[in-house]
Point group: C2
Chain length 455, copies 2
């Protein structure tokens, strides 16, 4: 007797109900992407390991799933190498492929590889799973879908604005209220310049990120610990105290960043995005948030993050501009901007707020009870007509006990059952029973179609 | 300078055009599955290697992609083992996971693992990629999608008939004419019994499969070579000569198989399926084909195969009944039947016969030319209205030369461009230009929406 089967830790099976909900999310997102003219691509699950290694830092390299070479993977490796090389080194000698870790690096690879077939600016979306050998924990999986939308080959801020519109429209379609937080790496660099510590941008941002949690004094203490001089800390003080409306913040920063060309450029970018929303207002709230420091190691301009306005759940979507994505594959100077929707967290928000639609349009509406071969032959053409009218219908395949068949309808949440016995055949009708009320009607096939099309 | 990036051999990138075509296929198939009440599931790309090994024969084991264990995969293996064990053995010691090889074994694993949550009969479909370390060649890939539909937990022939209806409706939806070929393993076993060589079924089928290619004499010669006695060969002779309509074939076999209970049972099953088509006729041609011997090692009853009636392309869909699928995971006596659609071959057929629809409903319909910031601000709210009306529209993000912007529209096959300059802003209109004809119209925003909704 075999053991009860299982799946690798950190991976998941998706049941029909989970699939219906996930499909609802992906379809909503995809529809908005498409109406904005974004085009789908897919890339293979496996990339050459050389395309992946070194792209996500040392930590990332360790989290790559490597595919063992097929056939005699040890053939070209000396016994002493097998015995003595550390696992990391040996791993790359016996594996030349790895599972994709995100959709960004494969996208960059795709763009460079197909540069001559692509029309730029290239607006693409991609919805596929990625794999990370992370320690599994609540809400963190080793296989999960990413849902990325990027435009590459244009540095216009209109692209950022379009992505913000897409975010706004996606969450409106899903019935979720969100806050879109905006920052700009150039503003952060400008702050570091303004206080005379241009090389300390990342220390400053890491500390500022904790402002809400540890307060002004806490941030300043941390910066002291990180070795930021007194003068710099004092110059930072008024910034940390900055309050007021977005317009007031802009006015303050205009002055604060006066000495930093980069900073003013970043400020101008943020302001332009707010200006665009005046031409075509968003449904969601957009906030300028200086403490937002997502992806500072790769974003070069705008930084975008989205949170639920209705519950606490961390980031459910985010992204930014990267000025040299394809540089890693030798194609330099191509600017891009993109955001990624966190399907798993959006799923959790919809579930907790009970915002999933009750049922899909094509859930089975009707089950014909199976009374035997003669009845089946009478039912088959009616069933065909129902399906042609897009009414998802089933015939119980076995001539089982009535109770068992009704139990199936009940468990599957099928709202109607149809009974066709000798009398119904003689009269050319179907007895339709509504499961919830028990109410029965005798209907001709065309009436049945009409009844179920509108029900 | 990095090398030009590439992807592992046998894998593919899918461009937006290919994606549109593949999505068309999958959506058509999915719609038919759903209207028949089948439910979607997804399983992880990685399964425990123990779930996969031994399920596909020795050859199959070699074609599994193994995932190298994370971290120090060598830690528990002695140096002499590393040096001396053959790659196959060592591979299973340093890999505990593998990529799924098909959707059938993961489905069996899913059913057993979730047996208490599932309502039987369980009608499921699954559309996901699978991976095989096969030698890549034309039309054979190392990563490809399977598109499976199965019902498990019912041995009624109505399930087979429903799958045949699904096949018929899918190919009708795709605009392809097909032949559905039907056979039954029990009939093949009955033939072997009838000629007094019950243990030689597989030899007989392998030879009969070549009937069209090598002719009657060829088949008999091959059977002699395989050691089938003269008496048995002589008894087979009339069967190989069998001709006539399906009804005539049934009559012939009724007599031929008279001594074999199994054979008659199989014949009865085939006949019942043809009988069902009299209650609800198929669009496609269905043929009873004794030489069809697909998947004899696992199918136990009906065998189904589908070919294009318009071009030569091998099987584009196939399947059958398996009486003990979940037995491999310790849950015995559960009968199932299923078919799998070959998306890649269907793609090739549609492409060669030029049956793909010209364009998707949401391809970009309109590009606004970007003349500058002032015009952009005027355009943004119009763009928003178009998109709300599901008219996929874009605004060129950069204020580039007119020629470049029109070139983008041309390359992207966008049929209309909109020009909004000072005069248009003053008059509250948009100049719409049809790319193909060059024809221009001046339209108010609401007229623009109407024009593009119907165009």
């Amino acid at each position: 007797m075999a053991d009860k089967p299982s799946i690798p830790k950190g991976t998941r099976d998706f049941s029909p109900l989970e699939m219906a909900r996930r499909t609802y999310i992906f379809d909503s997102i995809r529809r908005i992407f498409k109406v904005h003219g974004y085009l789908p691509i897919e890339t293979p699950a496996m990339e050459n390991l050389s395309s992946l290694m070194g792209k996500y830092g040392d930590e990332g390299d360790k989290l790559l799933f490597k595919i063992l070479n097929s056939g005699d993977f040890k053939a070209k490796i000396r016994p002493d190498e097998l015995a003595e090389l550390p696992a990391g080194r040996l791993g790359t000698m016996i594996s030349e492929k790895g599972l994709r870790y995100d959709l960004t690096v494969p996208f960059a690879r795709f763009v460079v590889q197909h540069r001559n077939e692509i029309t730029f600016p290239f607006k693409r979306y991609q919805i596929q799973p990625v794999w990370r050998a992370d320690r599994p924990q609540r809400g963190r999986y080793r296989e999960f879908y990413q849902c990325d939308v990027d435009v590459i080959g244009s540095d216009a801020l209109l692209n950022e604005f379009e992505l913000i519109q897409i975010i706004d429209e996606v969450f409106e379609a899903l019935g979720l209220q969100v806050v879109i937080q905006l920052n700009n790496r150039k503003v952060l660099a400008g702050i570091a310049e303004a206080i005379g510590a241009p090389e300390r941008m990342s220390d400053i941002t890491v500390a500022m990120d904790k402002l809400e949690k540890i307060g002004l004094e806490g941030v300043l203490a941390e910066l002291e610990q990180r070795g930021l001089g007194l003068a710099a800390r004092e110059q930072l003080n008024p910034l940390l105290k900055m309050e007021g409306s977005t317009t007031e913040k802009f006015a303050f920063l205009e002055e604060y960043l006066a000495g930093s060309e980069t900073g003013l450029e970043g400020l101008d970018e943020v302001r332009s995005l707010f200006d665009y929303t005046e031409s075509d207002p968003l449904g969601a709230l957009m906030e300028f948030d200086l403490t937002l420091a997502r992806g500072l190691s790769y974003y070069t301009g705008s930084i975008i993050e989205v949170k639920s306005a209705e519950m606490s759940m961390g980031s459910i979507c985010g992204g930014g501009r990267y000025d040299d994505l394809t540089g890693i594959f030798g194609m330099v100077g191509v600017s891009g901007v993109g955001v990624s929707f966190g399907a798993d967290r959006i799923y959790d928000v919809l579930l907790q707020l009970e915002r999933f639609p009750e049922r899909g349009a094509l859930d089975t509406r009707l089950l014909f009870v199976n009374f035997g071969e003669r009845e089946v032959r009478h039912i088959l053409p009616i069933l065909g007509r129902l399906r042609k009218n897009n009414i998802a219908s089933e015939l119980y395949p076995d001539q089982a006990k009535m109770k068992k068949q009704l139990n199936y309808a009940d468990k599957r949440n099928i709202p109607f059952v149809a009974l066709v016995g000798e009398q119904e055949i003689a009269d050319g009708v179907v007895t339709l029973k509504e499961m919830e009320t028990g109410k029965q009607e005798r209907l001709a096939p065309e009436e049945l179609i009409e009844r179920l099309s509108s029900a």
